[in-house]
Symmetry: C2
Subunit: 272 residues, 2 copies
């Protein structure tokens, strides 16, 4: 998907919400467990219920991998379902992969070709040649971890390097890589204070922002410091939407929560 199509979708829906499909068989409504493929049945229902309020879906690959082959089958069905029924939706494989060149190319093939996601999250630790194989794909997006939402982000990402924080060096350095226009970045919502500094380094890039909702980040603070003239934000909520209820009303409850967040986003966009 071209970035311009993502922006057009955001403007049309007045939402920049990404729904995280962290689908865990121990947390979905019990009555779904009798379905042939409970994970896909859950995802399909959540997608159908929430898509008017969301522009992106982000399966976290760990949750599928943990179920073995059954999980990968559910993931394949989920992305196929999204691509077929909601082709305007931006899809993110939250995989946080990172390996040397020839291996990175295999991961890129997996997520961009085998599964046909629009984007994949990638870890920066191994440097340029571990990321560039992803960047080669036109109209596919590589979402590099910059400053994450968890406590451990301060172990290394905020350590001082050349009078900057490591994550700032990651942002700056990655902008020099080939096809850097295909980069987006992960910045946790719990790190809103840092967003102004981040916008100085990557004014035009889209930022994928997890950590609103269950992790406690503030939507308003993120918007205040993170929006750019093309919106430039995808704000993710996972558990607060998909597990809003684990009863028969789970789809309605998920839709209500997605609608509530997208209404906040609509207000923000109106005031721009």
């Amino acid at each position: 998907m071209k970035t311009s199509d993502l922006i057009a979708q955001i403007r049309k829906k007045n939402s920049f919400l990404c729904v995280g499909l962290d689908t865990d068989k121990t947390k979905i409504p019990e009555f779904l467990l009798t379905e042939e493929d409970p994970i896909f049945a859950f995802n399909k229902t959540i997608i159908d219920a929430t898509h008017p309020f969301a522009v992106a879906y982000k399966p976290n690959i760990a949750f599928y991998e943990a179920e073995g082959i059954e999980g990968w089958r559910a993931l394949a069905k989920t992305i196929e379902y999204l691509n077929k029924n909601y082709p305007e939706i931006f899809t993110i494989a939250d995989a946080k992969r990172g390996d040397i060149g020839n291996t990175a190319a295999m991961y890129a093939k997996s997520f961009f070709e085998t599964f046909n996601f629009d984007s994949v999250t990638v870890a920066p630790y191994m440097g340029k040649d571990s990321v560039e194989p992803f960047l080669e794909y036109a109209d596919k997006h590589t979402i590099l971890l910059a400053l994450t939402s968890n406590k451990g982000a301060h172990d290394f990402q905020t350590q001082p390097v050349q009078n900057r924080a490591l994550y700032q060096i990651v942002l700056e350095t990655s902008q020099t890589w080939k096809n850097a226009e295909n980069l987006m970045y992960v910045v946790g919502a719990t790190q809103a204070d840092s967003l102004s500094e981040i916008r100085k380094i990557v004014p035009d890039s889209f930022l994928l922002v997890p950590g609103v909702g269950a992790q406690g980040g503030s939507l308003e603070e993120v918007c205040k410091h993170g929006l750019n003239s093309n919106i430039g934000l995808l704000i993710n909520a996972s558990r607060s939407i998909i597990y809003a209820s684990n009863k028969a009303d789970f789809a309605d409850a998920a839709a209500a929560e997605a609608k509530r967040i997208s209404a906040l986003m609509k207000n923000v966009l109106r005031d721009l």
Copy 2:
């Protein structure tokens, strides 16, 4: 597997060779492609031929993931085959995963429970809470990326932090984490110069050393600076062994190359 069992195996075989199963359908002998599961057929033959000379096998997960569900099935069969037929072998899922706590726990479940590997490689960028869920497993090993063998290692890993290199901070910091005794580290063979410094920080830890063979690292240099009183090294070779030939003699050629490397190791151990 307990570390003591790994050490006992190394002493018995006089080898600390790890064979990397980077199995790529475009590189294996063509006549195997008619097999029902060419990837597993190749792996099984390579394992049967090389196991007298190797103490560990390391499938790089990217190669399996790129084949979709078929690849995961081949991976499952490979690890089952190893665990059943060669229980003394140390198995490594080269996955380089890394995500926040609840998600890291899912990855740990995937590799330690669903697939029953002895160890998994993990990226450090997201810090303590992204690694500790792996460390909770007794007699399972978490192999943290420290200083990798690729060129991009110098983009971030060797950047100066607190008058040290970032990878040294990763080594030091990770040693303070809960269950740190379950940590091993990835150090590329192309970085042999740095091994003496690394041994000052982690004198007792096992190091997984890729980059001998196709990537050009020197076995002798790695041993000179990296060995400790419990050996403390697993040296990996992938392509130079498994693709030693792509003809009918591929198993013999792989065994010959594994034997050649293990003979060098035997010499090193004799001279200790």
